[in-house]
Subunit: 428 residues, 2 copies
């Protein structure tokens, strides 16, 4: 079945993660995404390791469902071809440093003259305006400058980086929201526009609570550890075989919660009876909680506390991917690689009842759609061949990338051995 963006065509100049993550979302929604790679260096190599089955897993995950075109964007013939294709597309997305697309002749002003209905999205570190605009940024710079890292880690300890590249992905998903809103508006006005999203700004918008709290009270938020800064208990706590998360214990359920964890007397201890006191006296409370929870397994606590409060396992990734709910929601999808194997990726979280979205197709082989693309520009077979001979268009390598990859046997051994940098089962 066709996704909700079926019929929407995207010319995708993105690279690395911030840009490709946004066009990945649109590909999952059924858009027809033509991703342009340079002829000089495969994006799959930019993505980096680990390489499996001759494929960059980093690249594969973020670029599933897109077509692949390899071009030299500095070639006048290629530029001419792209100018002929721009009137045929709905959306252009790019995440070069501001100024690069202008130098290449593919800036919004130029392309919107060729197609006034064009929605042109730019994702960048700092945005198209402001004093830092021309500077580059990567994920960890956005995470650091926004204040996110200053609020992540353990109380009194050094800052930490959340374990996913939300600095990049935040830029990508907010760009997608902006593009889709502009698409709705175009259905009314018939006109396109420029959508400018900065990775730094995206993180600030996610830090909404920290911003209003600091600006209204003067309190500078610090790292929150494994707890909620206000509610108690509202935290991760180590069980005998892993961590469990509990939340939503209220004053009137606190005695019940204490009884269920085998500490009846704690439920009526004046230090902990009221929520505010539990938070204030948390240092005194934690040893009781840790000792009590350490006596039983995660699964036992999930059952014991299911009716008492919100409770769930603090899964490591290996546990998450086999969770029955995750399986039932089909959140892990196996997709074919261009080398004839398969890889598993995280599916889209958007379940649409009539026009389903989803990760349906693997990443295309780099250059697989170069010829189709140039034909869209009206080029004849011979003209396409001339560009390939000239080295400004390419169809990609016939063979898998000549990079060190893990064999099936090696992977099976590692899975069996449980190779991991996992969490300790206790606090320290």
């Amino acid at each position: 079945m066709a996704g909700p963006l079926s019929g929407i065509k995207i010319l995708d100049f993105t690279w690395a993660l911030a840009g490709p993550y946004g066009t990945m979302i649109m590909a999952d929604l059924g858009a027809d995404v033509w991703k342009i790679e340079t002829v000089f260096q495969n994006e799959q190599r930019r993505g980096g390791g680990p390489y499996v089955h001759g494929v960059s897993t980093y690249f594969f995950s973020a670029n599933r469902g897109k077509k692949s075109v390899m071009l030299d964007l500095k070639s006048p013939e290629v530029k001419e071809a792209i100018y002929k294709i721009v009137p045929q597309v709905d959306i252009v997305n790019e995440n070069f440093q501001p100024g690069t697309m202008t130098k290449l002749g593919f800036d919004y002003e130029t392309l919107s003259k060729l197609n006034p209905r064009l929605i042109y999205a730019s994702t960048s570190g700092f945005g198209q305006t402001g004093p830092y605009s021309a500077r580059g940024a990567v994920d960890i710079i956005a995470q650091g400058m926004s204040g996110l890292m200053s609020t992540t880690g353990h109380v009194g300890g050094p800052p930490a980086r959340p374990g996913y590249s939300i600095g990049d992905m935040g830029g990508g998903i907010w760009t997608t929201v902006g593009v889709l809103a502009a698409l709705q508006e175009r259905n009314v006005s018939g006109k396109g526009q420029h959508v400018d999203v900065a990775m730094l700004d995206a993180q600030i918008t996610f830090l909404e609570n920290a911003v209003v709290r600091y600006t209204s009270t003067g309190d500078v938020p610090g790292p929150v550890g494994y707890r909620h800064p206000i509610g108690t208990p509202h935290q991760a706590v180590p069980a005998s075989d892993g961590w469990v998360v509990v939340a939503g214990v209220k004053d009137h359920t606190w005695p019940l919660f204490c009884a269920r964890i085998g500490l009846d007397e704690l439920g009526f201890d004046p230090r902990f009876e009221k929520a505010a006191d539990r938070t204030k006296n948390y240092e005194e409370l934690e040893p009781y909680l840790f000792e009590a929870f350490g006596k039983r397994t995660v699964d036992e606590w999930l059952e014991e506390l299911a009716e008492v409060c919100w409770v769930g396992p603090l899964n490591t990734i290996d546990k998450m991917v086999v969770d029955p709910q995750v399986q039932a929601r089909e959140m892990i999808r196996e997709l074919p690689t261009w080398t004839g194997e398969t890889l598993k990726v995280a599916n889209t979280p958007m379940k649409l009842s009539r026009t389903p979205a989803g990760a349906e197709h693997g990443a295309a082989k780099p250059g697989e759609h170069t010829v189709d693309f140039l034909k869209m520009a009206g080029l004849e077979e011979a003209e396409v061949q001339a560009l390939i001979d000239q080295g400004v268009a390419a169809m990609g390598p016939e063979d898998p990338e000549s990079v060190e990859t893990l064999s099936d046997e090696q992977i099976a051994q590692r899975v069996a051995a449980g190779v991991r940098r996992s969490l300790p089962a206790t606090k320290s």
Copy 2:
């Protein structure tokens, strides 16, 4: 100027953060959002503290720009009124536990019969399907079960929760993407549909790299600390007066980087010459980096390294809000409260060139638009008054909430005193 969703009307049954964050995005985009509060308990109280100027800052930030209606959803007269309004709206959004809207008579099946063009969005902890569907979840449960917390914190240490409620906000922003995609599709087909987004699923989609890496190699990702797990240096490092983030040092710029930090000889040390070796021997490298960076201030390092690699300050929230780039992008907006004061919120990151989006209006006073809403259902003034007298509709309190709030003077004192739970300037 009108935003891109100008003319789009949303009936908003959301509460807490996951749902309201999504409809906040749509309000920032110019949609006409009618948010329904219960007559029994103001959402502003659910939001919790800190309260400033008689307003829950938590509530204010996530609900700016929305209209406010106070109703008893169990009242037959109120239900009748809502049934008359449903055909007039484009979108319904709710984030109750699955089953609640059915009990109330406001489920997708019922409402879509009244309005076949309706886009109906449900945000929930685990989604509308699967074995855990009926369970509730809050932010930290989604962060824990998805695996995010297992990848956040310091190497070898306990898990940590990223310092913002991305478990909630992830549900909200992915719902918004789904709704906007369904809106585009409706412009083609004329039909609405049901959008079902789980907070857990949203986090899994953000964990895309961890999923493909674990499933393809067997490596279970663990906490990453303040570093990138593969690149080195690609991390936060303490300067003399705070932390700085550096990234993107390549093999050929490593000697230059070392020279600039005053460690010329390190640039040619065989333990660190190649990227893979720098990562492998990081434990040996870190003491050199920390000692070198500790000798100068953050600002000095920003200048020294600007041409060498990606570099930025690891801002605390107080530093971020006054950053010249953040100011230039107008990312902090001052908005009026209904009590006649102002609060500052994080603006939207989406800069649209022709139909700007933005946080333009404060949160409405609870119940401020109850009468207007009921008139949309065709009720006469006397009928509205009857519902208010009956206690199933309300216009909210005349006075600010009778909760403990900080006075202007108290806030000024706290800001001056620099009240903070801030980061230490060194590692431990």
